[in-house]
Structures are given as C-alpha cells and as structure tokens.
C-alpha cells in the first residue's frame, strides 16, 4: 500500500521561540543538556509538523526533564518506560509526532527491554539518548555505558561491568536509523535530529553529553578542541570517510578490520578511502563504524539510515484493510454472530 505521512503539516512557519516553554530550566549551568535542548528547539521548526501534534515522552533522569522545557504536549513518565508509553501514544493516534528522550541508564539499564523492542518494531518514533556514561540525577553511580574500570560511587575499586555501545545495541535490534551527535556541536545535532524526524520508522540519536558534576570530561578524549578533529569523524552519505585537522586522514577496510590511514603516505590516495553508504542494509560496516574508538576516530553523524516499512505504516494498513473487508461493522453484528437462538 502507498506510504503515508500521518502527521499533519503546519499551516505556518515556526521558529525556535514557538517551542520555547515558560518553565525555568533547572539543569546545572554548563550541562550538556542545554545544548541538546537548543538543538531540539531548532529541529522542531524544521520538521514542519503542526505544533499541537508534537508529543514529547521521557522517562526519569536529568535528560527526562526536557518535556517541561519545550512548549509541546509532554509526558514525563517513570524510569525506563518512555519507549513503551510512546509506543501507545503513537498507536492510539498516528497523527502525532512522537519524541522520546532518555538517558543512558533510563534507556539501556532499567528500560533496555523497551528500547530494543521499540527499535525492532520500527514504529515511527524519534528517540534521543543523552549519553553521559553516568547516573547523574542520583549523583554518580556507574551506568551501562560507563567505561570499564571507571571509579564511581558504586564502583569504588573500578567497574567490572563491560559497557554497552548504544549503536551496536540498536543495530543488533535491527534498527533502521542510528546517528551519533555531540553536545558541543549543536548544528550537527540539529541536522541529525532533523534527518531523524524525517525517517519513517524508529530513529535513535545518541548524543554524547557531558555531566560536569558527576562525570566531567567523560568524552573529553574526543571532544577537546585540540584533538576533536583527529579523534572524531563526521560521516556523510556518499562521501569518502575523511577526517583530521588537515582533512588528510581517512578510513579504509584492510580485509580484516577498519584502519585509519593518511592520504599521501605509503602510497595512499583518496581512492583508497571508503565511501559512507548509510543505506547499506547489511549492518556489518555500520557496526564497525559505531564501534570505532582508541586508534580509530569516534564516528559521528548518521551512521545507518535504511528504508524498511514502519510498524506504524503496517499497522494502519492492516486496520484500514480490516475496516474495509471485516465481517462485523458494529457491535450488534458481533453480538449476534455465530450460534444464537431466540427464547420466546
């Protein structure tokens, strides 16, 4: 059946101010969440969705306060359950543009089951994960993404938990859209969120976010201005995977794994550098890109974006079909169906 866009378009153009709420923002000064909020407020006008039809759903944690700070319908729910609640919102009314925001603990510890199943279903949800690798609201316990060996309040001798890589989790659950952004790069975050909103199906945007109180500089190894260009790569669809301050580094597949090379050294030319294809159905390369760290730059941008009929589309198609061909048109039909008899 024909693909539909269920969310009505706005009859006027919005600006960031239209989505800024009157509530006081209570995050710590300097928290990465402020930048993510700004990116989100810049994204909404670009989606061109009718304002009343935007619904923010969050769980519990610092990041989950976001519904108060955007002037849309909002549901600040309970720990870990944002995806499940959002699923019900979208199923009950597919004309709503549904946004989910969660932290790393909210989405991958207590809410891990809901996240992987939401991703597997590919319902039309826009999920943002604020990944600061710590439990911030409860003041500094290790989360499912805390680096191995890190000392936190609940791991005084270092964690012995191997962390999740959110990208691997999403792709392992057959995710159709996964992107990674940085809180300190708001324009990139806005671009990514805008593309996520346009994706038909579940989109997951992981934003590497700094909690300056309980896990300051968690991402500093890649975000510090001095090293950022050499330690990160912004992937662009159809373009070679080039990075570095001098734009002379690139990624290639050496038959065994990805490696970072320098153009002009050892006979490497631009033709040796891999081209990013975000729509490759096979998750292999996308998984490798999502996993990059250490000697390899951390991948940012849209890593995976493949077309697959969304759960929303399939559900509405089935509803429409059954409404047209179904035997029972009203309750009286159903009540009087099958074996019935009259008592005089």
């Amino acid at each position: 059946m024909a693909e539909k866009h269920f969310v009505p378009k706005a009859d006027r153009e919005y600006t960031k101010a239209d989505f800024t709420s009157d509530q006081m923002v209570k995050w710590c000064p300097g928290c990465g969440d402020h930048a993510i909020l700004a990116a989100l407020l810049n994204t909404f006008p670009k989606t061109n969705h009718k304002k009343e039809n935007i619904c923010m759903v969050s769980g519990i944690g610092c990041s989950s306060c976001i519904p108060y700070y955007v002037d849309t319908y909002g549901f600040h729910s309970i720990h870990g359950r944002a995806c499940a609640i959002a699923t019900g919102v979208k199923l009950a009314n597919p004309a709503l543009s549904v946004w989910v925001s969660m932290g790393d603990g909210d989405s991958m510890a207590i809410g891990g089951n809901h996240l992987i199943h939401a991703v597997r279903r590919n319902q039309d949800l826009n999920i943002t994960i604020f990944n600061n690798e710590i439990y911030g609201l409860t003041k500094g316990q290790y989360s499912p993404t805390t680096k191995f060996g890190q000392v936190t309040k609940t791991s005084p001798y270092g964690t012995i938990d191997y962390p999740f890589n959110p990208g691997e989790l999403v792709m392992g659950a057959q995710g159709t859209f996964y992107a990674r952004a940085l809180d300190c790069l708001p324009p990139l975050t806005t671009d990514i969120m805008t593309r996520a909103a346009k994706h038909d199906g579940t989109s997951v945007v992981e934003v590497l976010q700094n909690c300056m109180i309980f896990n300051d500089k968690a991402h500093a190894a890649i975000t510090d201005r001095a090293v950022r260009d050499d330690r990160t790569i912004i992937l662009e669809d159809g373009k070679p995977m080039i990075f570095g301050k001098e734009k002379n580094k690139g990624l290639r597949f050496n038959g065994r794994c990805l490696e970072a090379v320098t153009i002009g050294e050892n006979g490497i030319t631009i033709d040796d550098i891999m081209i990013h294809h975000e729509d490759t159905e096979d998750t292999g390369i996308h998984m490798m890109l999502a996993r990059m760290s250490g000697d390899l730059p951390v991948a940012l941008g849209v890593i995976r974006n493949v077309k697959k009929t969304s759960y929303t589309q399939l559900y509405e198609d089935q509803m429409e079909e059954q409404m047209a061909i179904g035997k029972y048109k009203c309750m009286d039909d159903l009540l009087n169906s099958g074996d019935t008899w009259e008592v005089e």
């Binding site: 509530q23 009343e52 002037d71 909002g74 499940a84 919102v89 009950a92 008899w341 009259e342």
Partner: protein
C-alpha cells in the same frame, strides 16, 4: 469416566449420584496407573451401594461403529464422548436433533465426521434404552421457564470481557486500545480483541507486562479507551505504572483474571487472592476503583461498566474476574447496543482559555481530558506531583490537597453506583457475604437453605472500591455475618477496617477450586446452630 478420572473426581459426586464409566478402559494396566490395586478396587460393595454405576462399553461400541463406517481407530476414539452424551440424553429425556444440527454446522466440511458422530450419539441413546437401570433413573430437567425473552448465545468470561470493552468503545466514541502480554488465564481477552480490527480494536502485544500497561497509559494520554489485561503476577509487574496512571489521572481499565498465587502459583486454577493487591498494591496513597464480575456472561457488563467509570471519572479501574469465570461458558442474553447506557468521556474543549490540567468537575472531582493534537491545550503530565494549574509542586499543602482530591474522586464514584441488595430470608439470622466469581455457588446454597426454612440471607458485592453507600446499613442489621471467599480473608479484612462495629466470621477456601454448594451449606448450618 476412565479409572484415573474416577479416582480423582468421585469425591465430588453426591451420594446417590449416577456415574457413567467406560468399562472398556478399566484394564489392569490403567487401574494400576490410576493408583488402584487389589486392596483398593474401584468398584467396592460400599461404592456400588452409594452410587448407581453404569458400566458402559463406550470404547468398544464406538470403535465398532467406526469400523462399520470405515473410520480409523483414532478418529473413532475421538467420538467416544458422543456415546456418553447419548446415555445422558436418554437419562434426561432430551431429543437428539439439536445436537445433530450442531454437528452438521460444526463439521459442515466433513460429512464423514458428522455421520460418525451422529451414529455414535444414537448408539449411546439406544444402549441406555436397553438398560433396565435407566428406567428408574430418569432425570427431569425442568424447562428454563424463568429465562427472560430474547436472543441468546453462549459466551466465555474472557470473550465477554473483550466484547464489553468493545461495546464501551462504540458507545463512548473512543478508540479501543489493548496493550497486553500473554498470561494464563487472561490471554483470551487479547486473543479475542486481536480479531476485531474491523471494529477499530487496536491491540498491541507488548514485550512484557510493564510495556503492556505503559503502552495503554500512553494510548490513554492520546485519547483512546485504553486497557490492559493480565493475571496476578502480571498485575504485580504493573504496580508502578498503575501508580503513574493514578498520578496522571487518565482513564485506564486493568482486567485481572485472577489465578492461584503467590508467584507463578497455580496458573490454571481459580482464586480470589489478588484483592489486596488490587486495593493496595502501589506506593504512596494511590486509590483506584476496583470492581468484580460475578458470572462469565456478566463479564460483558462489568467490563463495559469499568470502561464507563474510567472514562467518566478519569481514573484507573481494576476489573477482577478469575480463571473460573474467564474460561467458563454461560448463556448470554444478547443486548441491543441501543439499550446500553451512554458513556460521556470528559473531553476538554480545544482553545479553552480556562483549561488547567487538574481543574476538576465540582461534582465528580474528575479532571478534563485534553488530547495531544487539540489546539490551545498543550500541557504536561507525569509521575511528579503537580499543582491544580499543572506545573510541578513540592509545596506541602498542595501535596495534601492533591492526595485528598484523588481520594475524593474515587470516593465519589459511590454516588453513581446502585444500592447493594440482599436476597433470601428477610428475617435472616445469618448474612452471607460474597464478592466476584463465587456468586453462583453462594446464591444456590442460600436459596436451598431458604427452601429448607433456614434463616439465611445473601449479599453479593461487585463494587469493591468504593463500596455501595448502604453497605454499612446492611451489615449492621445482622447478628451473624460470614464472609466467604477463595482466599485467606482479604475482603473480610477490608470490610472490618471500614465497619469495625460489625462482627464477621469468614469462610475461606484456597485449593484453586470454586466453592461447592454442599460445603457452604454445612458451614452456614454450623453457624446458625452456634
């Protein structure tokens, strides 16, 4: 019966009962397997005196007919019940045509099966005719003259529950949403609703019980008549989210088809032991409306009613049924949708400048339902305490007010429910109290005792929280009260906290089985004699 079923079920037969056994199955091997032996034979003199035993060659006769018709042994064996049914039809003076017609419909595409079943049924009937003992054992089943005029069908409790929710959706004009996870014995509610997309039922099989209720809460926020169905352990998993539903004051129907607990307990057996969980199983002061169906067929009306109260009073409602009602099948007089009560959800008006998320109707205390997509009503809900205007508040007085208001809203549901009724002897010395799925056995026990001139009355509760307003007046009238339930006394405890002035005894059974009329009468007689 074969040896195994005789061994496990004979204890339920009254003395003097007629027992039909398939004598072909009483082989040495089967007897030993069932636990019979030389010292413990099934057909003792004592037993033969206590019961009329019809030792019918069910298997061999059925197989002979199967042979004649060219059916294989397996197919023939499947018809054995028809032979026994033929005996019962003879014993109860029933004609065979209705069953013939049923078989023709049921196996319309398999004429061989129809012919075989009909032949076996007839053979059983004729076999009984030739038995001398049958002529002194004819049972007259009176025509059901009390049946109200109308169109009838059979229905199970779980299907009736599903249909009641569908009916409420049609009446209220709100889309039906069910978010559930499979669990015995509640699964059939979801299975039934999944068939009815043409009636607009939106069913979502969630990844777990928590996602079941959370998706329903999300759907309710978005404007659906939202429901989740489960059984005991599932309700435990839903507790936190149910507290959220209380806090956000959204309509929600939670169907709990109770089973034996705790933990996995007895999944296929019935019990009424989730009452405390339904009443109290949440953190904080978190009142919800609790009601209970009392027959398989009236699950339809109680599900409808649960949805009506949820939508009109903006509150979660827990509907308690049980495995016995859910799987049991009963005659159901088909209602006309035009005769069903109206349901008026409390929808907010778009662009209402005075809309406040927790502004309440002065009569019901229900808030208004503003749906995402409505213009000019953007607001936020959530698990944190809010003030009536909507924003978050940790103000001490505000919290006290909001707690009181949420309780008052549930209390005021009592203004919309009918008075509690009492049946039986008006001068009764003993009042029998029951609730939920036990009404059949309790009513019958009291009626039989009234016929015997015993001064017993009966009151059956469907509204549990809040209770009907005249509950105290009723309880205070009787010197002796016995609260009967399939648990350790949860409803009795609940009544005692509200009416400490009324002395109550309790009669409980926790065997995964429904009440038997005999055991109830014995207990009531003991209490009367006291």
């Amino acid at each position: 019966m074969n040896p195994a079923s005789l061994k496990s079920n004979l204890k339920w037969a009254k003395k003097g009962a007629t027992v039909i056994v398939d004598i072909d199955t009483f082989t040495d091997e089967a007897l030993e397997k069932a636990g019979y032996n030389e010292n413990n034979h099934p057909f003792t003199d004592e037993m033969e005196r206590a019961y009329t035993i019809i030792k019918a060659p069910v298997t061999s006769f059925t197989q002979r007919i199967g042979n004649e018709q060219g059916a294989d042994k397996k197919t023939a064996d499947r018809c054995r019940n028809m032979f026994a049914l033929g005996i019962i039809f003879y014993a109860t003076h029933k004609k065979l045509d209705q069953t013939f017609a049923y078989l023709e419909r049921k196996f319309a595409k398999k004429p061989d099966v129809v012919a075989l079943n009909k032949a076996v049924l007839t053979e059983g009937y004729e076999y009984a005719d030739k038995l001398e003992v049958m002529h002194s054992h004819i049972f007259e089943i009176a025509q059901a003259d009390k049946m109200e005029k109308g169109r009838y069908r059979n229905i199970t409790g779980n299907v009736a529950t599903a249909w009641g929710l569908l009916a409420a959706s049609e009446k209220s004009g709100r889309r039906l949403f069910l978010g559930s996870y499979p669990i015995t014995p509640a699964t059939d509610v979801m299975v039934e609703l999944a068939k009815h997309k043409s009636l607009g039922a939106r069913v979502f099989q969630a990844e777990d019980e928590i996602a079941g209720i959370c998706s329903a809460i999300g759907a309710s926020y978005a404007g659906a008549l939202a429901c989740t169905s489960t059984s005991g352990p599932g309700l435990s998993l839903k507790s936190e989210a149910l507290g959220l539903a209380v806090m956000v004051e959204l309509p929600l129907v939670v169907v709990d088809v109770q089973r034996g607990g705790p933990s996995t307990g007895l999944p296929t057996k019935t019990e009424q032991s989730d009452l405390n969980q339904a009443l109290y199983g949440r953190n904080g002061e978190a009142p919800v409306v609790v009601m209970a169906a009392s027959s398989s067929a009236n699950c339809f009306y109680w599900a409808f009613n649960a949805a009506k109260v949820a939508l009109e009073h903006m509150t979660p409602v827990i509907l308690l049924t049980d495995g016995y009602l859910g799987n049991g099948s009963q005659l159901f007089r088909i209602p006309k949708m035009a005769d069903m009560p109206e349901i008026k959800p409390r929808l907010a008006t778009p662009n209402d400048p005075n809309y406040r998320p927790f502004r309440r109707d002065p009569v019901t205390f229900a808030r208004e339902w503003a749906l995402p997509g409505m213009e000019g009503l953007r607001h936020r809900v959530g698990g944190l305490e809010k003030c009536p205007d909507g924003p978050l508040s940790t103000d001490p007085e505000n919290h006290a007010l909001m707690v009181a208001n949420r309780q008052e809203k549930v209390n005021r549901v009592a203004n919309y429910i009918p008075d509690q009724e009492v049946i039986g002897d008006p001068d009764a010395e003993l009042l029998v109290v029951g609730w939920g799925g036990t009404s059949g056995a309790l009513t019958l026990a009291v009626e039989e005792m009234n016929k015997e001139g015993k001064k017993v009355a009966y009151t059956h509760f469907n509204y549990i929280c809040p209770l009907p307003k005249n509950t105290g007046d009723i309880l205070r009238k009787y010197k002796k009260i016995v609260v009967c339930e399939l648990n350790n006394g949860q409803f009795a405890g609940y009544l005692r906290t509200q009416f400490p002035e009324c002395p109550m005894t309790q009669y409980n059974k926790i065997m995964g089985l429904p009440f038997e009329v005999g055991e109830l009468k014995a207990e009531f007689e003991r209490l009367l004699a006291k």
